[in-house]
Assembly symmetry: C2
Homo-oligomer: 400 residues x 2
């Protein structure tokens, strides 16, 4: 049974839904509540109503907000809000550049004033710093921001190839060396961000990323592993059996975007498979929503929060399914987009105070009422709504 293509009215209704949420609820929430005009940067720990419950500044979110605001500016520099977006991006970019770096490392969190609070033994603060600077340079023409992105990106490549540089001891204990999906997927996304709409640099690194991602994509099991031995085998441990469906779906659309631009049909097919399998495995058939973690062997994941429904896997799935529909024209992908979007607007969206809730229990009840925290800020929701708005606009134009 084939599914009929969505009517123009359906596409328009969806575009209105995401556009309205983005522009009347989500962006105003962050513009009204997060800007620290006194000391710079953004308050990213915001309660349901936008009040600040912690003044610490988490660099993942500072960098991602600079990126998002710059992107909104750059999408239409003549729009009436564009200047406000650029100014708000400057507030964060200046704070990052003055405070967040520790040589070739970037802190995980700072005090409100910008003094060091915590440094992770991971490279993701650095990644979001680079992502911020690359897009901010486009918003302002600030070449030194771009130069900083390029310089720090080289350090990130060193960390990716030798994680011991980040200070976590690596033991020679007879276990195979392993790789995390997060590393090649974020690098591939960073390359896309550094390249912008039409650049074509870093192709050798992109190909390294693609080869690494392929190790995680197990056609034999129809699953995408989070952690794999680099020798192509599988680990039968909780880490080696771990599935993170939202993460795999996000990696899928990163890869689809990369493959589409280059006309790589085989890679596009692999990206679609990653999304298909992960949604099939990850969707909770009883209660709805996408699980946070699963174990491929059916054991209980060690992560206590495994059955919770988090906002960001749903954001990534909305992007992935619309992109898959745009790529293939298969209406079933639009149906899946609707399935995820309907769940999300019914459960995460908070029309009363703006933005989305981030954390639901398995049954879809709000577990954490805050809108921003150490891992949630002005990023996944606005990125997804903004990308879906663009994809839906393109579909409407194509169909008319």
């Amino acid at each position: 049974m084939s599914t009929a293509a969505p009517a123009q009215s359906t596409l328009a209704r969806e575009r209105d839904r995401v556009s309205q949420c983005l522009r009347e609820s989500v962006i105003p929430f962050w513009m009204n509540h997060s800007l620290d005009r006194e000391l710079g940067g953004y308050f990213n720990c915001l309660d349901r109503d936008g009040s600040v419950y912690d003044t610490k500044k988490h660099i993942w979110l500072q960098g991602r907000q600079v990126w998002m605001l710059s992107k909104l500016h750059n999408a239409d520099p003549s729009a009436k809000d564009a200047g406000a977006f650029r100014d708000a991006a400057t507030l964060g970019a200046d704070f990052l550049r003055n405070r967040a770096r520790d040589g070739q490392r970037v802190f995980f969190s700072l005090t409100r004033e910008g003094k060091p609070h915590f440094l992770q033994r991971k490279m993701f603060s650095e990644c979001f710093y680079v992502m911020a600077m690359a897009e901010y340079a486009r918003a302002t023409g600030d070449a030194s921001a771009r130069a900083e992105a390029d310089e720090l990106f080289q350090s990130i490549l060193r960390y990716a190839k030798d994680p011991s540089l980040l200070g976590r001891p690596v033991y020679d204990n007879g276990l195979p060396a392993t790789g995390e999906l997060a590393v090649p997927m974020i690098l591939l996304n960073l390359i896309e961000e550094l390249n912008g709409a039409d650049g074509n640099d870093f192709e050798d690194i992109a190909q390294w990323c693609v080869e690494r991602i392929k190790l995680h994509v197990r056609h034999d099991l129809k699953m995408v592993m989070e952690t794999v031995p680099l020798d192509g085998s599988l680990l039968d441990t909780p880490e080696g059996r771990l599935l993170n469906p939202g993460h795999a779906i996000e990696a899928g659309w990163f890869l689809m975007s990369y493959a589409r631009k280059r006309g790589l049909a085989d890679l596009e097919k692999m990206a679609l498979a990653m999304i298909d399998w992960s949604f099939e495995t990850g969707w909770d058939k009883e209660e709805g929503g996408i699980y946070y973690f699963l174990d491929r062997g059916g054991y209980s994941p060690l992560q206590l929060e495994w059955s919770m429904k988090l906002w960001w896997p749903h954001c990534e799935a909305m992007i992935a399914f619309l992109m898959a529909y745009d790529t293939t024209g298969e209406a079933a992908y639009f149906e899946k987009y609707l399935q995820v979007a309907d769940y999300s607007f019914a459960h995460f969206d908070d029309p009363q105070h703006g933005e989305w809730f981030g954390y639901l229990d398995r049954h879809g009840r709000v577990s954490q009422r805050f809108k921003g925290g150490p891992y949630k800020g002005c990023f996944h929701v606005p990125r997804a709504l903004w990308m879906c708005e663009g994809l839906l606009g393109g579909l409407i134009a194509k169909a008319s």
Copy 2:
């Protein structure tokens, strides 16, 4: 309204319940499934039915199991199982002594063979190693195990006073230096373990612990804070507002045990207050069970698992309320013991395969089916049942 003292028949019924669970379900589970007779140490990652789902060996649990088995031996060295307990303790103690130390540090986890897997920037592996060696030395008369406990305890004291020795950078960022409840409470418990039934050493350190614990006990708020500035103030951040009721109840009975032995009535009163307040705040009045984390200001805790019901706070509360009843003779404490024990036997106990489940969702449904994992092993359940068996036996003897 005063509550009537429990009848002898009630005390006997309770003693039978905990004793039967300990000796017919919990101990057999670990003795049958955890011993790695081939390569030494214990499998501590055990599924519901005792099958091994990960062969890694987590040192917190290796040490705690050596302690528990030695304790069971030492409680009655002429009992028919005593030899088996001592032999099983030796299996773990030898593995620890051959494999787990890295100079004055102790690994967090090892491979099955005992090769290094992970080293935490925390001092708790060292603490459980010391606890194991102190009791194991009593079980075997092995003076070198005791000497090792004493030596490593001195390193732990250095780590407690200067956590930067553990490798986590400490920043001079204008925030007040803070203390964690875990540190003085585990040190106080270690001193009790090193002292044994009638020792009286380390009194200066014990008094340092008591003074530190007092900083966490806020009579003005009737709450016990997890993290406090050392200057006696309060932090208005998620860390500074965090409550962990089970942890505070455990600290309460550690302190009550310390105070009782020394006849310190004021400290005993403070310990009872810690238990009373934390149970009042921590018990979920709608769904039953003790919350894992709360925020004193009513915000959502950052910990995604805050509303889950974990086995160990219930174990600690069973001990604390029986000890409080034994100390004060107030029947209301026995009622609270029953409230927690009834919840626990109804929700955590697994008569089908033995031992208790560890992790329930807010509504009391099993969330993780495994019996052992990186933080759950042969410790909280048998320690609680064994201590409750002893306390109930004492109450029965007193009343007859």
